[in-house]
Symmetry: D2
């Protein structure tokens, strides 16, 4: 059974609430999932899962330094993540805006790793975005996102 | 047998030379391939293939207006391209620079279409880039790129 | 007295409504302004003004092909636009999303031209965005944006 | 007399060598300049200077986490940097590629701060890029870049 790792960075709880909904979506497809805050995720956590999903708040129109630190250090496993599925989501706070470029920051890193990145025809083309705390509709978007990523993982790595 | 469409825009012949090498790579994986200049490609050409590869010269750090026109008009087939594989490559000329953002312009459009986009650990992380006419080494990068895209198409859609 | 050119592309009227509000803002600073639809703007219109503002609908997370065509052809005046002020705004429609990257597409082209690009602490950091027709609040954002761009033009080129 | 702050992150010395050349360029215009490694720069260093230049290595097609940390924390001074001039440069190493998006990451943060960002018609449109250690030609590009940024600072803030 394929596995998905969800790593998120959350200061206010909004990104964590999104991560929980994404986890529910992945699990609904019968795919194993581990969800970790960025402070407890280790580099070696990136190796086993066939799918990696990263969630970030939007700081200055980008992913946070904490998420970027994980990405920078993932150079340790360069070429070992090739072919895995990568996806991302973002919350944004008072500042507003920039969530799409924050998600794209993470997707670009996945592409550098040679990973496979899906887009979405609804609910955020690059991945879900929530302004502030995700309401029920946003949570459903996150669940649907998690399910779609899990389906792609199954298509590529078997059930 | 899955099919791949290569659409390219070429004024000087550099992007066409890249497209020919990409075609060779796709074909080497036993995948059907059609290669068309952007001026002869129709919107309905986008429907049948399981993989779409677009090549562009770099104009002002972006894809050309001709390529963007095809992308804009592809709204006609919105949601019908979902799940297909998308990839892109770019040449750049005298102005230099901007090829990576030109490729990312195209990849973003593929993500909006809900397509699946692979990255690469070598030879241009987002897709091949050639400054001027592609030399033998660049052509080999294009061949390897075409083969990788074809492999992903086969993984997702069967041989 | 310095001059500002506003070029916009509008199919539904939303981007034109934004352009009119931006024009009002520029004019409020005592700066000359010419506003043209992209279909009536000529390349030589880019030469005289000290500030150039471009407005676009969001198509596939980017500026439209019509706007990109103007940008591509502006190569004719490469190095002649250096030091001018450049700014951009975008509307988005049913598809939702992508307006920030659409604005950034245009700003990148301005940077390639060696132009000077201001950011904004409120009302859209890269420039104003309107989902659908701009309401009164959005129009005020556009007016404030036009005024700020005009002020920068005056700082750099005198009153 | 206006002041420029140069903050750089350097592990191998390449970005520092670029920073030194940029400093020389700023100084050649009679503008005061302070150059600091990111580990010794404080948030309050951002307040006084009329121009801020940031240099970064390219990690996963973006600025490093250390640079992003400085940017994230600069929220402390949000709205206080408005109108200042911002510019950026990047080195890239073995991985190759991504330097333009790394520079754009920083420029986007400057735009969120309401700063003013110049582009360049030569030597890297968004700012200088060096693959590995900067050779004499690359150093001259950095000197010219520093001088141009200093000139814009003088245009906006007086000599």
């Amino acid at each position: 059974m394929p596995k998905v790792l969800i790593v998120y960075h959350s200061k206010t709880g909004n990104t964590r609430a999104m991560a929980e909904a994404v986890e529910e979506g992945v699990r609904s497809e019968g795919v194993d999932v581990v969800r970790k805050g960025v402070e407890e995720a280790s580099l070696d956590d990136l190796l086993a899962p066939e799918g990696i999903i990263i969630g970030t708040p939007t700081y200055f129109a980008g992913a946070t330094a904490e998420i970027k630190k994980l990405i920078d250090e993932s150079i340790k496993h360069f070429r070992k993540l090739e072919g895995k599925v990568g996806a991302a989501f973002a919350s944004s706070g008072d500042l507003g805006g920039g969530s799409e470029t924050a998600i794209l920051d993470i997707l670009r890193a996945f592409l550098v790793h040679g990973m496979v990145v899906p887009g979405f025809t609804s609910g955020g083309h690059y991945g879900p975005v929530s302004v502030g705390s995700p309401d029920q509709e946003r949570k459903e978007v996150c669940v649907a996102f998690g399910a779609k990523v899990a389906k792609l993982v199954k298509s590529l790595f078997g059930e």
